[in-house]
């Protein structure tokens, strides 16, 4: 349950630096999710924390003590791997008890602990089976179980659900969330799936090309992304981006694009004026567009519906807006016809503006 700090952590393979000065503070019993596209350095960061990769420069502190020179076993942590990394020649019980057996704990204690964890994960009927005799979901559970029997201070998860099919992944995600309530430990979780990140995290750390883009609560990151990358990465379907030009008229700011002109809220407008922005990127989430034929000219987009994806109570419309494509999330009962041009109201407080050169939020 230590407080973990990463201080200016870098990783080099030969001359190539893949992590550029990671700074991160993880509080006691916090569920931190490192999320980003593949190759962003999230797994490397986790593996350095685990002690499986060496630290090129910088330091990792656990409760203030530098640990980057320590072996994995001296760091008091347990890890769940993407491919489960079960020992193929040991049965479930022996897989789960391996660490305790190495630590020479009394057999009684080991048996009790294994049974306790196995019961919690619904594995008690499978203790005598080898990993090859289990299904993917069961193997995943054994991997969790092996980590849980350790009673370590820190749990590391390296994309633990990515080898499961979609249904099982949803189920395991829910189970993880439940386990999270019971086990108040420090957990660091790596994933490329933003839904996992949003649902599980106390703190999300979005990474991209070896750097932390932004960190904070899921809600904060969703509502206040600091740049276009974070805005586009979190949320599904992803945020729409439109190139706009800002016009100043009658003390108001308008974002003009091909075929639309949207009035910008006063706060955001003030910031844009301060930075004397002219060309920028407007971001709007698909769920912040509402079908409304009576919406005012400066608070609506006229979109030509080209595809409608029915996904149950909601439908995702893929529309044309000039040369750009805009996705809209609407209730399925909304009366739309393909090829029609419809008017969608834009919630003015949901508009994001990004500098078109640096991509940072205005």
């Amino acid at each position: 349950m230590p407080r973990i700090q990463l201080e200016n952590l870098t990783k080099k393979y030969g001359n190539v630096e893949v992590l550029h000065g990671i700074e991160l503070d993880m509080e006691d019993a916090e569920f931190t999710v490192l999320v980003g596209p593949s190759g962003c350095g999230k797994s490397t960061t986790l593996r350095m924390l685990a002690g499986l990769e060496s630290v090129s420069s910088g330091e990792i502190y656990m409760d203030g003590k530098p640990v980057s020179h320590l072996e994995p076993k001296e760091r008091d942590l347990a890890m769940v791997f993407q491919d489960y990394a079960l020992y193929p020649h040991m049965n479930v019980a022996r897989n789960m008890s391996f660490a305790l057996r190495l630590a020479k704990r009394p057999q009684k204690e080991i048996d009790a602990k294994v049974l306790e964890v196995a019961t919690m994960l619904g594995l008690e009927d499978y203790l005598a089976r080898k990993p090859a005799e289990l299904s993917g979901g069961q193997r995943q559970r054994v991997a969790m179980g092996r980590a849980l029997t350790r009673d370590s201070g820190t749990f590391l998860f390296d994309e633990p659900l990515s080898n499961l099919d979609a249904k099982l992944r949803g189920q395991m995600r829910a189970e993880l969330a439940v386990m999270r309530q019971r086990v108040r430990k420090n957990m660091v979780y790596v994933t490329h799936d933003q839904i996992e990140a949003m649902t599980l995290a106390d703190r999300i750390v979005v990474m991209h090309s070896g750097e932390i883009q932004q960190q904070g609560t899921p809600e904060h990151l969703f509502k206040h992304p600091v740049n276009k990358f974070v805005a586009g990465f979190l949320g599904s379907p992803p945020m729409n981006f439109l190139d706009v030009e800002l016009h100043y008229r009658d003390n108001q700011v308008f974002a003009n694009g091909k075929g639309f002109s949207l009035r910008i809220d006063a706060d955001l407008a003030a910031r844009a004026v301060k930075q004397s922005q002219r060309h920028c990127t407007l971001g709007i989430r698909p769920s912040d567009l509402d079908f409304d034929a009576n919406a005012g000219n400066n608070a609506a987009l006229d979109l030509k519906v080209s595809v409608s994806e029915y996904i149950g109570s909601q439908s995702v419309l893929i529309c044309e807006c000039g040369e750009a494509t805009v996705t809209v999330e609407v209730k399925s009962e909304t009366p739309i016809a393909l090829g029609e041009v419809l008017r969608f109201a834009v919630r003015s407080d949901a508009i994001h503006l990004f500098d078109s050169e640096t991509s940072t939020a205005i």
Binding site: P72, K73, L77, F81, Y87, H89, L102
Partner: protein
């Protein structure tokens, strides 16, 4: 299919049947097989009480098991040591497997020179160090040929073990490190058990080969002194050529063949058992997931 079967019949079964047939007859090389007398199992029975044959069998068994034991020990040990990414490792690995590529006769000659009583490098070193000479190919002939064979064939075990090691699941080893396993514990609890299938097949292959050893020993000691290094292959050749007992030699060959067959069947049995197990697991899994 048919041409292959015909070639198999001619090349493989004809000599085999000829030998088995010959082993039941009292057969001198000057006779044609049809002129020989049928003696039933007499050749086989006679061999069982033939001290020289028993001695030769003992030498062969001792030789085979001792060399395979040490080759496994050293080969696997080296593989465990060298399973890492150091600079120049690929060159080192190539150097390690060189002995295997040298013709056995050359290996035999080389070691014979090195073991030479006065001019051999070992005894020169010993005298330089002020120690007594060792009678390598005399008193310690069996040990000496065993050392030479270990030198030549350890690389075989080494490259196969190394390949097995490098195909082990990396993440399982990482999991073991996180679980607190030391280097030794990783070897004993994870690496060796996971390598076991490859190691067992390697060992059986090597054992089969060790029973058939001939050239190196022929060149180094010619089976001597006395019968101390007379392995079965040599004994068979001598029985046929010097003692002119073709029937007995054939019977001896058949004993050796039986021994090798048991080992080969053991190997096939093992691999088949493994395949069957893998198949069963796959079926089981499909049933559960489907």
């Amino acid at each position: 299919m048919a041409p292959a079967a015909i070639i198999m019949l001619i090349a493989l079964f004809y000599p085999l049947v000829y030998m088995v047939y010959g082993s039941f007859r009292d057969w001198d090389p000057s006779q044609r097989l049809s002129e020989t007398d049928f003696v039933g199992l007499a050749n086989y029975v006679k061999l069982l009480s033939d001290e020289a044959f028993i001695e030769s069998l003992t030498v062969t068994l001792t030789f085979a098991f001792v060399v395979v034991f040490f080759e496994m020990l050293i080969g696997v040990g080296l593989a465990l040591l060298l399973d890492r990414n150091l600079r120049g490792m690929s060159l080192l690995r190539t150097l390690f497997i060189l002995p295997m590529m040298i013709a056995p006769v050359v290996v035999g000659l080389m070691w014979r020179f090195m073991y030479h009583q006065t001019d051999g490098i070992f005894n020169r070193w010993l005298t330089d160090l002020g120690l007594d000479r060792v009678d390598w190919l005399g008193q310690h002939a069996l040990t000496s040929v065993i050392i030479a064979d270990i030198w030549q064939w350890t690389p075989f075990i080494f490259i196969l073990s190394l390949a097995a090691l490098q195909s082990l699941p990396r993440s399982a080893l990482e999991a073991a490190r996180i679980d607190g396993a030391t280097g030794w514990q990783q070897i004993i609890h994870i690496k060796l058990p996971l390598m076991a299938p490859v190691l067992i097949v390697t060992m059986l292959l090597r054992l089969i080969d060790a029973f058939k050893v001939l050239e190196v020993i022929l060149v180094m000691t010619e089976g001597g002194p006395g019968l101390s290094t007379e392995i079965l292959a040599l004994r068979i050749a001598r029985t046929a050529q010097e003692f002119r007992e073709l029937g007995e030699a054939a019977a001896m060959s058949n004993y050796l063949l039986l021994l090798l067959m048991v080992l080969t069947l053991a190997m096939f049995g093992f691999t088949r058992w493994q395949e069957a197990r893998a198949q069963k697991l796959k079926m089981l899994q499909r049933e559960e997931e489907g």
